[in-house]
Amino acid sequence: MSSDKRPVFDWLFVVAVLSLIAAYVRAVYFTPIEALQGAAQKIYYVHVSAAISAYLALGVVALMSIVYLWLHEERADRLAESAGEVALVFLTVVLTTGPLWAKPIWGTWWTWDARLTLTLFLWFLTAGYLVMRGAVDDVAMRARYSAVLGILAALLIPFIHLSVYLFNTLHPKPILLKPDKPSMPSEMLITFFAMWGASTLLCIALIGARYRYGVDRDALRALQSDGGA
């Protein structure tokens, strides 16, 4: 197997970075400041788009975990691992930008509200998923255990989304992902869609890059184990 392959960061990553820059410029310079919350409302664009990207990445983890359990396909396990790592990055952004919005608006960095607590729990599950992958040496066993954990972690997502309806929470209800029309002016909506698009592209590009790294790492491990045998 040759190591002379596609660059780890391909054209999609470049497109994602350019889109993110464009979305940032729009959010910072061309989006009005909300009257009640001030500039802190703009945190919404990065916070919610990171949350949706984290859900997307965890959806990939769950889907590829099912594929692995069904077909025992090594590539599905590697893709699930890649998506899990990227999901953790986006979840970290969600859990840190949330308090930065909450402090000026709620007057506190954190509250043990259902949405926040479940998201923190999802972060721990995702981190646990990655830590467990590093702790199990047997390849098939690692893939099987992590597939089960990956599916269970993704099952939390609908509960997190619905938690604001199921429980009495401080967290605002969805502005966009709800049955009726989005409750946001069009200028802000366009900015949100731009940030969401950029974040989704970045998420996909990072999963791809992480997957290519995984291919090389596994090829190296195979060569090393052949040499050691």
């Binding site: 780890v8 500039a39 802190a40 945190i43 990171a50 890059a209 790294y213 060569l223």
Partner: protein
Amino acid sequence: MMLQSRPPDTAAYYRIAYTWVVVAYGAYTVALWWRAKRVRAQLRVAENGEARATRGP
């Protein structure tokens, strides 16, 4: 007289959040690039070693 209310000054939080997001995505990208670079270098060395071993002396 009507009082014109101005939005509260919460810009500092928003600036920190936007900077932090760039730092977080950037740090992960750099870390991934560095890991990939290191693995590819090790893979090249291992492949060359294997090729030499298959060719023999």
